[in-house]
């Protein structure tokens, strides 16, 4: 164990700053530092993933903008969208973003209980968002507005549905993370995981703001 603490891991050595050659290894290395470096590598990769997701959503938005007028004689955005529900969804999702932020703050204070509580609140808010969204979709389908009604509705359901799918996956992930936190407590690994999911959650929030503005606001205006 003593020996394990003495040396610097390869990844850490590999990660020395560009241009600081000869950053000699083995002097200030210990496991936690190593893990920190290792975890920061993963966070960086997650940023890149978010960027690809950004392009994915951008493409879906582009399709929506091209197709949103093609109602094929079916219902239009004005006829279909019910703003109170959408505003409630928006409010809930924005709040959940805030609570996920509180979770991260609690984590930095090493407050495991607070962290888990705030994550649980975020999960609940996210789940109610999904509930409202599914409810909204079901209502539309009952009114005969389905994905196969018109190009407008295809692109609407796909864009909003993809966002909803992202939120749902995030929920599964967050629930899994709560169990991991209970088992392992706050470690560099779980800290990275919490940071990453909160990043993901904020990202979905930003996407939703675009959905709200471009799809719903511009739809009813």
């Amino acid at each position: 164990m003593q020996e394990r603490k003495m040396r610097l891991s390869p990844r850490e050595a590999a990660h020395t700053e560009v241009g600081h050659g000869g950053h000699s290894a083995g002097h200030h290395g210990h496991d936690e530092h190593h893990e920190h470096e290792h975890e920061s590598l993963k966070t960086f990769g997650f940023w890149l993933f978010l960027m690809t997701d950004c392009i994915l959503f951008a493409s879906l938005f582009a399709c929506y903008l091209v197709l949103h007028g093609n109602t094929n004689g079916g219902p239009t955005a004005e006829e279909l969208f019910e703003m109170p529900g959408v505003i409630a969804e928006t409010f809930i999702l924005l709040t959940s973003s805030f609570t996920s932020g509180l979770a991260v703050l609690a984590m930095h204070k090493k407050n495991l209980k607070g962290l888990i509580t705030w994550l649980a609140v975020t999960v609940l808010l996210g789940a109610s968002f999904i509930y409202l969204e599914v409810d909204e979709f079901l209502k539309m389908v009952h009114e005969g507005a389905t994905i196969s009604t018109s190009a407008f509705l295809s692109s609407f359901f796909t864009l909003v549905g993809t966002h909803g799918l992202h939120v749902s996956l995030g929920l599964c992930w967050m629930i899994g993370l709560i169990f991991q936190l209970k088992r392992h407590g706050i470690t560099p690994v779980t800290m990275r995981k919490v940071n990453v999911i909160s990043l993901y959650w904020h990202f979905l929030d930003v996407v939703w703001i675009f959905v709200f503005t471009i799809v719903y606001m511009m739809g009813v205006m």
């Binding site: 020996e3 394990r4 040396r7 610097l8 891991s9 390869p10 990844r11 050595a13 590999a14 990660h15 020395t16 560009v18 241009g19 600081h20 050659g21 000869g22 950053h23 290894a25 083995g26 190593h34 590598l41 993963k42 960086f44 990769g45 890149l48 993933f49 960027m51 690809t52 997701d53 392009i55 994915l56 493409s59 879906l60 399709c63 091209v66 197709l67 093609n70 109602t71 094929n72 994905i147 196969s148 009604t149 018109s150 190009a151 407008f152 295809s154 692109s155 359901f157 796909t158 599964c172 992930w173 899994g176 993370l177 169990f179 991991q180 392992h184 690994v189 995981k193």
Partner: protein, 657 residues
Amino acid sequence: MLDNIKEFASEFFVTGDPLIYGADVSIGLAMIAIITVLTYFKKWGWLWREWLTTVDHKRVGIMYIIASILMLFRGGVDALLMRTQIALPDIQFLEAEHYNQIFTTHGVIMILFMAMPLMFGLFNIVVPLQIGARDVAYPFLNSLSFWMFFFGAMLFNMSFVIGGSPDAGWLSYAPLSELSHSPGVGQDFYIWGIQISGIGSLATGINFIVTILKMRAPGMKLMQMPMFSWSVLSSCVTIIFAFPILTVTLALLFLDRYLGAHFFTLDGGGNPMMYVNLIWMWGHPEVYIVVLPAFGIFSEVVATFSKKKLFGYKSMVFAMMIISVLSFFTWLHHFFTMGSGADVNAFFAITTMLIAIPTGVKIFNWLFTMFRGRITFTTPMLWTLAFIPCFVIGGMTGVLLSVAPADFQFHNSYFLIAHFHQVLIGGVAFGYFAGLSYWWPKMFGFKLNEKLGKWAFWLWNIGFYVCFMPQYFLGLDGMTRRVSEYSWDMGWGPLNLVSTIGGFLMGIGFLFQVWQIAHSIKFMERDTTGDPWNGRTLEWSIPSPAPLYNFATLPQVKDQDDWWEDKQRKQQGLPSLKTPQPIEPIHMPKNSAIPFIKSLCWFVAGFGFVFDWLFFAIPGMIGVLICMLVRSFSYDTDYYIPVDEVKRTEAALRGTN
């Protein structure tokens, strides 16, 4: 009951063509042979532990390369079947339906299942070694990428014997690829095969960007990085911007076909032209994704075999980055004839021509790397030398195609076919062949036979010109692409015959390559130096094949071409700039079965979606989710190699010293 089964089987399996029965038999025999050999030699455990579950970048790379060579064979056979059908007028060898399937699978396989994995294979083997790292940033994800590619490719290839192949062209333009015009399952195989492997490619893109940016050896500045690693970086940056668009496009096409959505349909307000735009917004960058690493390989090879530093390093880097960026602003040149108006066409004509500038600069830099050098004509160098004129001519015809009003005459003709084969074979294939023979000793510890390699080289090279030069003329003479028949009075017979002969010459070239590999495995001497070419970069500083952990102690980098400079100092009797480092326990990732199982689940799910069998699709998707959770919950994912073991391995690999 029996009748039901018979009816199902006749729908499920592709029937009625002797070619396909032949393929069925050979696939069956090959599988039996593999299973027998593995069982007889009791190799199942070895296969599972050492290969299927490995997260070692070198082994993943080798698996990529094996898969891509198999795919090159399949794609090549497709090509030869096509060339046979149109060798002469009025040949009744393949029906239109089969011909359409074959050119579709040829295109998809060559680009997505041959070029991409060969490229990823070289990324995997070379990049960590070149930048002095012990693995890629995310070894687990890397293995997952490979298996996603592999099962995606398997799913796509399965369509040959089960259900029927896709036949709407390699980019499957809607509405031809919609349910209304392609009711068979072939198109669904296309969607899911590409989708699954595409997700893998996206992950590889992220993986290598992080590897290159964050895991370089201590002291290696970005501007000292070997050119191949730079080319990988630019290619991966292009991947992460382009591949999400492909994911979306295929997903939308799937929704159209599966749920009756109206994105690209003729009816319901769909917009087929949007498909054409989207697919080329991925498709055009895609060709730069595969060609940029080839540029990197040429840069390495030309410097090594001219025994001279790469000329204009900064220019080279800059040029590649410009190409990466510009590649996103040219997609419309694939459909100038859509009539988007003169403003739009002029804009995209100019952006396309602009790419010629950085590409031209790279050619000059390669030439001036050789200038005042000492050129040895090894196989990798021959491929590189053949590349230059080939790519220059192909580039010129590319510029001709970019001239929008002239493109109205070239578009959809064999002129276009000749052009892109010239840049893809002359650029990409020659590049990867150069890379394969250059890094082969690093992968396996022995060189490839030079004599057979040269035979293969000449056959490919001559075959290439014989095959594709006539096609430029055929295009100018009005022969359009994808036609499976023409009559004697068109006058296209002689040139097509010549072209077919060229195609077969390349086929023989491929056989020579296979022979070369088999022969070399059996007869070539082991390379004990680890540096058989007198190389310049870090991968040549370690034994071949590289040990699991690559570098016993991480190299300290002072220069561009660090290993070369090191050798020069030693030769001149100067003291090394490096202080010896003590060997320490090495932190390594553990092997994992999850990537294999998860990709298998994707395969099952994809197969279920293809046939609309929810009893396959739902368990498959649940399997994927479970794999994700299992991975998320496992914390014991790595281990340490103790110092003693490292010392023992090093002593064994480096001989007595």
